[in-house]
């Protein structure tokens, strides 16, 4: 027992409780925002200090505090920080629940941090539920028809996904007799080559776990909830869902599949194929469905499905490559950071715009290039990054993840992915086109208070920096993922 390893999570949970308690005494609710931000900074500082300690196991091997976990913790804290900054004006839409809103964001961030640290199926499940339940409530916060429908849909489908995941875990436990990821791996090593193959329960378990996690990362065919939930949820929460929840899903998949099912190669090869196929259909369906969308939140919902497809190229690489040489994961980590910054930037711009024009319809963005050039420029840059055109980070992320796939003989997958990027250019550029080329209905400026503007600026600067000088983050991603080399 070494509690000091989990100061960041503890700090965050305490902040969440404080926010709820202080809500009873303090009338100026904006205090809660600053309190939450302070909590995130404290947690971030403590996480940062732990970088390099690399404690593989703690709490009876239930949780790990290695570089991989720290990398993701910092990512989640950064995401939550930007989302809260971006909420500054938007929170007036649910004025009665401001404190609950911030507390729930902090709690789900805690859950995500634990997800990235979970080294045991049981702790993994608990962390995942902590995240999910907070998110169900957050989605419903607007309390209008769409928001309620979205929350109910998310809750029901999420509950099914959790059940499927649990069932998969139970089967894996049945086949191996272990719940700890490392112990599962050991138990698989002792089986002869024919035994894991001859054990359908194990395979069934792995497939069901992929289905459960697939729901989290919004991969086809587990993507049904995405467009409705993205559209109905408060936009800040859509932003949070689209990056935080997805990154947490990938963190958990990376750790589970690499630690527990990384060897023998017969198994990793098989789940690698599954991810490759899911990557292909996610990219194609996500991009195709995004094309006809008229609501920008729905469009970005489908786009996030396609982006999950690009990310799964990394998973496929790392399943299909021989384990000793696997590199796919560092590309994945880099892609996740770049995607988080880009998507948060795009959503922040959308939040600022919808505060003013009260619409998420793409056609209503006409003439924004004239009304607020900086805002339009920021959103344009994020769209360019999502397409994957340099000098934005999206290009480097794709280059990095695809280069690792190509290196391991997955060039066919790379070609499908790059062609999909071209298709995606069509709908991303449509937003750009409407903003810059169509005539505006009014010439009124779109005002923004300082905080969301800062969030947007931070995202855009980050996207540019990662696109031009990606070396440092690539190095960090390599260090973080080095825990997976045998």
């Amino acid at each position: 027992m070494n509690l000091s390893l989990f100061i960041p999570e503890i700090a965050l949970a305490i902040t969440a409780v404080l926010v709820i308690l202080l809500d009873l005494f303090i009338r100026q609710k904006y205090v809660m925002r600053y309190l939450s931000l302070a909590g995130l900074v404290v947690a971030g500082v403590f996480s940062f200090i732990m970088w390099g300690d690399n404690n593989p196991a703690a709490f009876n091997n239930m949780l790990a505090a290695d570089n991989f976990a720290v990398f993701f913790k910092l990512l989640f804290l950064g995401i939550a920080f930007l989302v809260i900054l971006a909420s500054a004006d938007y929170e007036s839409k649910f004025a009665n629940f401001r404190s609950e809103y911030y507390a729930l964001i902090l709690l789900s961030t805690t859950g995500m941090m634990l997800m990235s640290a979970a080294a045991d199926l049981i702790s993994l499940y608990i962390a995942l539920e902590l995240t999910s339940i907070s998110l169900y409530v957050l989605v419903s916060l607007l309390k209008d028809k769409k928001s309620t429908e979205a929350a109910l849909k998310y809750l029901l489908l999420g509950a099914i996904a959790s059940a499927v995941l649990l069932y998969g875990m139970a089967l894996v436990f049945g086949a191996t007799g272990e719940t700890q990821l490392a112990a599962i791996a050991q138990s698989l090593q002792t089986m002869t080559d024919s035994t894991p193959l001859g054990n359908p329960a194990l395979y069934m378990g792995i497939v069901l776990m992929i289905a459960g996690f697939g729901f989290k990362i919004a991969a086809v065919p587990f993507q049904m909830w995405v467009p409705d939930v993205y559209e109905g949820a408060p936009t800040t929460i859509t932003a949070y869902l689209s990056v935080g929840s997805k990154a947490a899903g990938f963190a958990i998949i990376l750790r589970t599949f690499f630690t527990a099912f990384g060897e023998p190669f017969t198994i990793s090869h098989d789940w690698g194929i599954i991810f490759a196929v899911m990557a292909v259909i996610s990219m194609i369906i996500g991009n195709m469905a995004a094309i006809p969308q008229t609501n920008i939140k729905r469009m970005l919902g489908y786009s996030s499905i396609a982006q999950a497809g690009y990310l799964m190229v990394g998973l496929a690489t790392f399943g299909l490559a021989m384990p000793a040489t696997a590199l796919g994961e560092s590309g994945l980590l880099f892609f996740l950071v770049s995607y988080a910054l880009t998507n948060l930037g795009a959503f922040t711009a959308i939040i600022i715009i919808s505060n003013k024009i009260n619409s998420d319809t793409i056609a209503d963005y006409a003439g924004l290039g004239r009304r607020s050039p900086l805002l339009a420029l920021g959103l344009t840059f994020c769209m360019v990054s999502l397409i994957g055109i340099p000098p934005a980070a999206g290009f480097m992320a794709k280059f990095y993840i695809f280069s690792q796939a190509a290196q391991h003989g997955l060039l066919w997958l790379v070609i499908i992915a790059t062609i999909n990027s071209v298709i995606s250019a069509y709908y991303y550029l449509r937003v750009v086109k409407v903003m810059w080329f169509n005539e505006a209905a009014s010439t009124e400026k779109v005002p923004s208070s300082a905080a969301p503007g800062i969030a947007l600026a931070l995202c855009c600067i980050g996207v540019l920096l990662l696109g031009v000088m990606p070396g440092l983050l690539m190095r960090l991603a390599e260090i973080a993922s080095s825990i997976f080399t045998f």
């Binding site: 560092s330 360019v384 397409i387 055109i389 340099p390 000098p391 290009f395 280059f399 990095y400 695809f402 280069s403 190509a406 290196q407 391991h408 003989g409 060039l411 790379v414 070609i415 790059t418 062609i419 990027s421 071209v422 250019a425 069509y426 550029l429 750009v432 086109k433 810059w436 080329f437 000088m469 990606p470 070396g471 690539m474 190095r475 390599e478």
Partner: protein
């Protein structure tokens, strides 16, 4: 090298774009003057490098090199340098970039954005010609898409939105294959350096992909840009609907990126180039004949010039894949020559459209009396385009044909060359028809009040004409330096 000439040339236009975007006030003149300054200095530096380039026998192939480690995990370098091939093309880019600003002097719609995008585009095109690292090369190649998209869709004419989107999708489609090709090269050789790959060959490890597949992946990317038949259909739309200065840049230097990339590709994959040369030459011939035939049918003055590019780029493709030293030099010269000639043609067409407000050749006529200067320059440009001796067009086409006729690298080249020469006849046909339709014939009274070229327009017209004649009379000024870049490549080709 004490002073980073290439970086300065590369980033000055981008810096200018930034200054123009951020400067206070909405003074048109001020913005345009800034644009002139930020394109004139790179031009002056490029001229200096052209003079200072070491042409002696033992000199290094790559000069003015700059190399810094850029992304350690990918082994990517910030590596710039020019050789005999890329230096004239860089000079051409800075030259046309400067003239494009003058040509745009009458742009009054959203000038701040226009000049910012124009300058940003110049940086990315220069970047393509001076990058020696494949990743940097690809980034520069891609960056150009965004300014072009804005320039065509905001300041264009006709179906501008359609043309701009078509251009972007085509280019990205080609780039998708190119990216896959670059990744494969990277993992077969472990290097992103174009120089190292050309010097050491691909013989190292042939893991993921056979070399032929990589060759084709890269080739598609360049072929879309050149454009090679049947990947050319974006060109007439984009060229026709773009604003004048952008048409000049598109035809003048942007499509040269494709030809330049192909020559570099030949240097990296000499064996594959030779293996498939025959097929590519046949496509080149189709492009020459088909392009010229379609040009004959055009009635829109800009569209006619745009289609003529397809035919002219066919000569470039023929020259490259004839794989002889003379033919490759001819192809490079043809790229340069086509850049200035078609640049001038587009500038003149833009002037006609601006001053007369008619772009349909059937409605024009008899302008020779009313606008004598425009007519004279247009005729010179047209004659240069059809390859009249003493113009650069003649020198270039002559070298391509001579080189391909005598080259032994590919079978039956003499027959192919003769077929290609038919294209010259067709070219004469459409150029003369265009000149006759627009400038000769009965004088039309409704054009009596049309203005001729003003002072500024005369400046860029005459400068371009002077360069066309200079290169036509004394082509060695360019061929000598092109040869320095091309002979090492030819040395790699067997046979």
């Amino acid at each position: 090298m004490d002073f980073n000439y290439l970086s300065t040339i590369l980033f000055l236009p981008a810096a200018g774009a930034l200054v123009i975007a951020l400067i206070k006030g909405n003074n048109d003149k001020h913005i345009k003057r800034l644009a002139v300054v930020f394109t004139a200095i790179p031009l002056a530096l490029a001229v200096y490098l052209f003079i200072a380039f070491d042409r002696s026998a033992g000199a290094a192939a790559m000069q003015f090199e700059e190399k810094y480690l850029w992304i350690a995990p990918l082994n990517a370098n910030y590596h710039l340098g020019v050789d005999g091939l890329s230096l004239p093309l860089m000079l051409l880019t800075t030259f046309l970039g400067f003239l494009a600003v003058l040509i745009s002097w009458k742009v009054h719609e959203r000038p701040r954005e226009f000049f910012a995008w124009l300058l940003l585009m110049e940086t990315s095109i220069i970047g393509v010609f001076v990058s020696l690292d494949l990743l940097l090369f690809f980034i520069m190649w891609e960056i150009e898409v965004i300014p072009m998209y804005f320039l065509i869709s905001i300041w264009g004419s006709g179906r501008k939105g359609y043309s701009a989107t078509k251009y972007v999708i085509y280019t990205l489609f080609g780039s998708a294959f190119m990216l896959a090709g670059i990744l494969s090269v990277y993992f077969t050789t472990g290097s992103l350096s174009m120089v190292d790959i050309a010097n050491q060959g691909l013989g190292m490890v042939q893991t993921a992909m056979p070399a032929a597949a990589i060759f084709w992946l890269l080739f598609i990317g360049f072929a879309v840009k050149l454009p090679m038949f049947p990947l050319h259909t974006w060109l007439p739309d984009a060229h026709t609907d773009a604003p004048t200065a952008v048409s000049v840049m598109l035809a003048g230097v942007l499509i040269k990126m494709g030809g330049y990339g192909m020559i570099r590709l030949v240097s990296m994959f000499p064996a594959q180039a030779q293996q498939y040369a025959q097929w590519l030459i046949i496509l080149a011939l189709i492009g020459i004949i088909y392009g010229a035939a379609v040009t004959l049918m055009q009635t829109d003055i800009k569209r006619l010039i745009a289609y003529s590019s397809i035919s002219h780029m066919g000569y470039v493709l023929l020259g490259i894949f004839a794989l002889g030293e003379v033919s490759l030099t001819g192809a490079a010269l043809q790229m340069f020559s086509h850049g200035i000639i078609t640049g001038l043609l587009f500038a003149m067409a833009g002037l006609v459209i601006h001053n007369i407000e008619v772009r349909d050749l059937r409605k024009l006529g008899g302008l020779g009396r009313q606008v004598p200067i425009i007519t004279a320059v247009f005729v010179i440009a047209g004659l240069a385009s059809l390859g009249l001796p003493l113009t650069s067009g003649f020198a270039a086409e002559f070298m391509v044909f001579l080189g391909s006729y005598t080259s032994t690298a590919v079978a039956h080249l003499n027959i192919y060359t003769i077929v290609a020469i038919i294209g010259v006849v067709l070219t004469a046909g459409y150029i003369l028809w265009m000149l006759q339709q627009a400038f000769y014939g009965p004088v039309k009274e409704e054009f009596n009040s049309v203005k001729d070229a003003d002072k500024l327009e005369k400046v860029y017209m005459f400068v371009l004409v002077a360069v066309i004649i200079l290169v036509g009379v004394y082509p060695a000024i360019l061929t000598d330096i092109f040869k320095l870049g091309i002979s090492p490549i030819v040395g790699l080709i067997g046979g």
